[in-house]
Symmetry: C2
Subunit: 486 residues, 2 copies
């Protein structure tokens, strides 16, 4: 009964996040979860993940991908085959040394990602050009042992999908990597209402073993960046290491070009931080587990019958329109408590029906994206359905608009001014600046401002131009976003 | 290109199974899968699992259950709290001893099932009678280190759902356990066309730590039994061990009553073995990933255009009816090869369109459940849609009918004749007989015939009667099925 109010975001954003995920019942209290660094996802949080999952899964299938399932365990020797890859993941591995009461001859690691084990399978499954492209996806749990963890953002075990594809040519693999990035961005923008920026990672920030890594970067409510999904053109690196070859039309052996791409439960963290306010979550209608909550209000028993009659009727008509709806019939808490509770959970629309509404044939409708009285209207009961359907569209659009305006107001273009660049980053802003892409420069910004490049946006603001790198002043042909990040 | 034919079932049922799962491309070849005892589920096999999943998930949600997600890792100390439970699972545990480059202070086991970690969470989440019932489900991978493994039937890692619920009273928990058994049985019978028998496990065969275990038992094509799903009333055992208490209406502390229930990728094995024949799989239309395959046939290029025109038109009209459909456009294999291939994969209906069909306005339609010419009809193209929709119903019904007749013809009621009882079991039949339920008796049948009781059917053939136990001749008030089992 204590879940009434969280630390304001302006006071302590981190505390706000930690309190919201618990009070909105997205996860079990991390301090009480018995496995360090792992989260228990509670039903409401899992429903959000299911919304991410079902939307993406549909898009994957529409674009010809098929789901498969590969083992949780990966022989240590597989990981060691690709030098960059093992170097990137070694510090984070969980290792199984015993099975069935015996010590294992070769220890298994729990998959931190599955390029290696899927690469080995592809080498056996692909024979000829006719077997290409091979377009696989897997929904799975992965483990990366993390020192500091936060629910959804960084946990030792997390849920994700990992796509793995093999192609005959570089260009096809490249097109695939970019297609999946588009699908991620479309989901983020259209469904999660997060105006992500599509871009390419610097060499240093690239996935371990990839040729090129692409990302969708989202701005959180405190201005920090969050990598919400990645897509990699792996070139022929994994194909050479795992011998993924095909016989082409001329009967010659060729190495495949592979890709991988993933979105994880981190996306749930992005949704929380892109839209949340001091009252809690604000969920976009497209992915909200509950789109409308109906709160009946009465004091005397004789009022109850009439109120519930109206509530039941509205429930039925709204459900018939396909809306996801909940009626809050709890009798041991006050209406005010219920309002706060559903605001904390970010339900887009709340409908209140009291004895006066029964008399007048009205309903009080509050939209979550506009706080207080400004967001509350009294509507004729006959018009509730149309009004609510319109609100679904409006709230979805408004959340995206607000997030876009917030994002744009926190991006500053900066050229040839390292001091100003630093000031932007120190204030949790995003700096869009010329960048040579070098590791030394990135190490310097990391040391100076705890920030590295987020990406070279695919949509360059001055595509035909060149400039001077913000760090080394060497020639730079692309601009990059720099920001502190989760 | 070698996937043309498998060992006949009558010759070597086990070889038949192992060949079918590979040739129908349900799984990667187990001999080549690099992680011993784990399977790689290929797309076609995974689609079957997705059909199981989506059907069950919908039913779980309709009955008020919510999905959640709990950690893969379980502290060893949790498992040790329930004596029977740890004894049951200890020999099969995979143990993580190292994480992030360091030895762990307390080793984690990889969940073999999650009663313990979910029980601990329930103890914190449940305070009052208002929090009950708590109805959770989790879709997850689990690990039980197995010595002898077979794809889907017994693998070291498998996929499943595990439901975990807490209730105020014994009767509610009991009703829940039986409700979930009903949902499993309905899925098996109505969707998978497997005439499972619902029953209760003997004390010895009961889940480690349960009060009562229920099962759906399916008869496979060789007569052996397969436990296809289980549901347990856990009594107050786990509640006492994990201190899952609630304050009742009289303000008194009470222990909860909990249940757990699960269906795994084993169900896919059941579908294969309940229906498969010497040509491969036979899939019930309700769950078939592909319900209809269209095979265009032509020799000369000038024939191709006309054939594909008809095929495209049929594809569109059939798809518009919601049928799951594939057009086999491969040009490097013969029509005969394609026919065998789709028969191996168990696609319920095949439509062939050749140049003569273009001329005559006809289509050749072959149903997978009736082999050869008897199952093939030539239909006017205008009537294909109605005919195929009817076939979906007929094939679904016919597979269930065939499996039911096979099951019933392999069940023998036997009383007071241990020798005959043994003969039935030796011939892979099911014996329905009086059984006292004692462990000694069951150990004896195990030793004598490698068979134990499968269940006391809920639907007793002679409910008001008593009889003499087939083994010890002591009083028995229920009859049980005995059979060899997977």
């Amino acid at each position: 009964m204590s879940k009434q109010g969280v630390t304001p975001r302006s006071e302590d954003y981190s505390a706000w996040y930690n309190e919201v995920v618990v009070q909105a019942e997205l996860v079990d209290n991390p301090e009480k979860t018995p496995v360090r660094g792992c989260m228990i996802i509670k039903p409401y949080g899992y429903e959000l993940w299911e919304a991410v999952k079902s939307n993406l899964d549909r898009r994957f299938k529409e674009t010809g991908h098929q789901n498969a399932y590969f083992p949780l365990f990966i022989p240590m020797s597989f990981l060691e085959k690709e030098a960059d890859h093992v170097e990137g993941f070694a510090p984070e591995l969980a290792v199984v040394t015993h099975g069935g009461g015996k010590e294992l001859a070769e220890p298994y690691v729990i998959r931190p990602t599955s390029e290696t084990i899927i690469g080995e399978a592809m080498s056996r499954w692909i024979q000829s050009f006719r077997d290409l492209p091979l377009l696989l996806n897997q929904w799975a749990n992965v483990v990366r042992w993390e020192k500091r963890t936060r629910p959804f953002l960084r946990t030792s075990e997390f849920l994700w999908q990992e796509g793995h594809t093999a192609h005959a040519t570089h260009d096809e693999a490249q097109a695939e990597a970019l297609q999946m990035l588009d699908i991620y961005a479309e989901f983020a923008i259209e469904k999660a209402a997060i105006p992500v920026i599509k871009g390419q990672k610097s060499d240093q920030e690239r996935f371990a073993g990839a040729l090129r890594s692409y990302t969708i970067e989202a701005m959180m409510g405190d201005g920090k960046a969050l990598q919400a999904g990645t897509s990699h053109n792996l070139g022929q690196n994994f194909a050479r290491v795992f011998d993924i070859q095909y016989v082409d039309e001329n009967n010659e052996q060729q190495y495949c070009w592979t890709t991988s791409w993933g979105v994880s439960t981190r996306m749930v963290g992005a949704i929380i931080m892109a839209h949340g306010d001091d009252q809690g979550l604000r969920l976009p209608p497209e992915i909200a587990p509950i789109q409308v909550v109906l709160v009946p209000i009465w004091r005397k028993d004789e009022e109850k019958v009439g109120v519930l009659e109206v509530v039941d009727r509205l429930r039925d008509t709204l459900k018939a329109k396909g809306l996801r709806l909940h009626v809050d019939l709890r009798e041991n808490v006050t209406p005010g408590y219920k309002f706060n509770d559903w605001e904390m959970r970010g339900v887009p629309v709340r409908i209140e029906i009291g004895p006066k509404d029964v008399e007048k044939g009205s309903a009080a409708i509050a939209r979550r994206d506009i706080p207080g009285k400004a967001g509350k209207e009294f509507i004729n009961q006959d018009k509730v359905v149309d009004h609510v359907l319109q609100l679904m569209v409006d709230i979805q659009a408004n959340l995206l608009k607000q997030a876009t305006e917030f994002r744009d107001s926190n991006i500053t273009i900066v050229e040839n001014d390292y001091e100003k660049f630093g000031e932007i980053l120190r204030n949790n802003g995003w700096a869009l600046t010329w960048f040579c892409g070098g590791a030394e420069c990135e190490n310097r910004t990391k040391e100076d401002f705890q920030a590295v490049s987020r990406c070279f946006p695919l949509d360059q603001p001055q595509p035909a131009m060149k400039g001077k790198c913000i760090c080394c002043e060497g020639e730079a042909d692309r601009m990059a976003y720099f920001a502190k990040a989760y």
